[in-house]
């Protein structure tokens, strides 16, 4: 494979972005998913709908509103300027924030469904053994949701790697800051450098395939071990 220095820089940046976004999303989404899995609040429906919005909205819509919101006249832009951070578009952390919005449902939903699958019984048992709510969450809920955490990490990471429309709208194509792999591929294609586009695009296809393969293997193993316990 003949990848240029600029291609490698884009790959490095993409991995850094996806790793940062995944870690931050796991921290943010764990309590959110737990609340969605257990709450009986009337806000549960609206919040679940907002979380799922990035699944159905075209990335250009998300990118366009983020560009306006993060701009000097938008509410996020005013906030970030008052905090002394400056404007977020065209920066790495601007991309992190945008990617978190974009990949949110891919992290929340696997967590939520694995937490829902636990049911009340293990928690009631833990409670009768004297475990408090926090104790129950850390020693019962988290270990039992492990498959959900694996799926959430893999999907959140992979989905951020594959992000394009949002980055295009707010990135500004700055090498080492916002020029990620998908944008680099787009540039190659637009510049009619189809050979180089192939190199990077094929790498991305291979990467995505391996990631999904690992995910499905881990799930097959899980269902096989469940069966063993069942017997």
């Amino acid at each position: 494979m003949n990848l240029s220095a600029a291609d490698w820089q884009a790959i490095e940046l993409t991995l850094k972005l996806a790793a940062t976004v995944t870690v931050l999303l796991l921290i943010l989404c764990t309590p959110l998913a737990w609340w969605l899995a257990t709450s009986k609040s009337r806000w549960r429906g609206p919040v679940a709908a907002i979380v799922a919005l990035p699944l159905v909205l075209p990335p250009t819509v998300l990118g366009f509103y983020l560009l306006l919101a993060m701009g000097p006249n938008g509410w996020l832009g005013k906030l970030s300027q008052e905090l002394g951070i400056g404007l977020l578009p065209f920066t790495f952390w601007g991309l992190v924030l945008a990617s978190m919005c974009y990949s949110l449902p891919f992290v929340v939903q696997p967590l939520q469904s694995s937490m829902q699958a636990i049911g009340n019984r293990p928690l009631e048992v833990a409670a009768t053994l004297g475990a408090g709510p926090l104790d129950r969450f850390f020693t019962v809920v988290l270990p039992l949701s492990k498959p959900g955490f694996i799926a959430a990490s893999v999907l959140g990471f992979a989905h951020t790697v594959g992000e394009f429309g949002v980055v295009l709208m707010i990135g500004g194509n700055i090498p080492g800051q916002t020029r990620v792999v998908s944008v680099q591929i787009y540039d190659h294609v637009e510049a009619l450098e189809y050979g180089q586009a192939h190199g990077l695009a094929a790498s991305l296809v291979a990467f995505s395939f391996v990631v999904l393969l690992l995910l499905y293997y881990s799930q097959y193993k899980k269902s096989a071990s469940n069966m063993r316990f069942g017997l």
Binding site: L67, L68, G71, F90, G172, I174
Partner: protein, 245 residues
């Protein structure tokens, strides 16, 4: 057979025309004027020239292609996909330094030199002729090194405009056709860059061989070079090539 040909050439046809994004304004007006006097219909598709090129090579059913540069129409001719004789320069693009802030630019380059801006938006020079022209200006003014840290690049000239219009970039290089209509600046402030500072932005059009409406397509190409179309093209800030004798 003869009568068949006669009837098919006089019936209303529909042309599908691929147009570079920067030319969307004038093209809409020209197509409207054309269809007022002709029975034919014109469907316009706007986008980046690079994408249209890839689509045409892979079989997209366009009749005409209005590129933002000269290389892509030439490449289509080289691949035997476009008619050599049909190629002509339909417009010469003009470049402007623009800000959404009405007080930022005083019809000169002083803001570029003064450093008094957060970001400088330009179209990606690798992809867009207007980006290449912007680079020429910066090189000629010896501002490449000083400005490079503040560049933000749009994938095309429309996105570059968006970066500036939303206020995220204080200033940037855009096409005059985007900010002017009937020789009046629509909003903000601007410096119309002297054409001596950059290579001419020659925009070429070609007729595609795959077209099933060659006669109508030629008719439209002729109309593009007539006085009515020329007047519209100029009103958006483009210039026209001197007709060769």
């Amino acid at each position: 057979m003869c009568t068949l040909l006669m009837t098919s050439s006089s019936k209303a046809e529909e042309l599908l025309v691929a147009v570079a994004a920067n030319f969307s304004g004038p093209m809409q007006e020209i197509a409207e004027v054309f269809t007022q006097t002709q029975p034919h219909k014109i469907q316009l598709a706007f986008g980046s020239s690079g994408k249209f090129f890839a689509q045409i090579v892979n079989g997209a059913p366009y009749d005409l292609f209005f590129s933002a540069d000269q290389t892509k129409p030439q490449a289509l001719i080289d691949q035997n996909l476009a008619l050599t004789s049909s190629r002509f320069t339909y417009a010469l693009g003009a470049l402007a330094l623009w800000s959404a802030d009405p007080l930022k630019i005083n019809n000169d380059a002083s803001v570029l030199v003064s450093d008094n801006f957060n970001k400088l938006a330009l179209a990606n020079p690798k992809l867009a002729p207007y980006g290449l022209a912007a680079m020429d200006v910066l090189i000629n003014m010896q501002l490449m090194e000083a400005s490079q840290k503040r560049w933000v690049q749009g994938e095309n000239i429309a996105q570059t405009y968006q970066f500036i219009a939303s206020g995220n970039a204080d200033i940037g290089f855009v096409a005059v056709s985007q900010i002017m209509q009937n020789a009046v600046l629509k909003k903000g402030s601007a410096w119309i860059v002297p054409s001596t500072l950059y290579r001419p932005i020659k925009q070429d059009a070609v007729l595609l061989k795959r077209s099933k409406h060659l006669t109508t397509a030629k008719l439209f190409m002729d109309f593009m070079q007539g006085p009515e179309a020329s007047h519209i093209i100029r009103s958006f800030g483009y210039t026209l090539e001197q007709k060769q004798p």
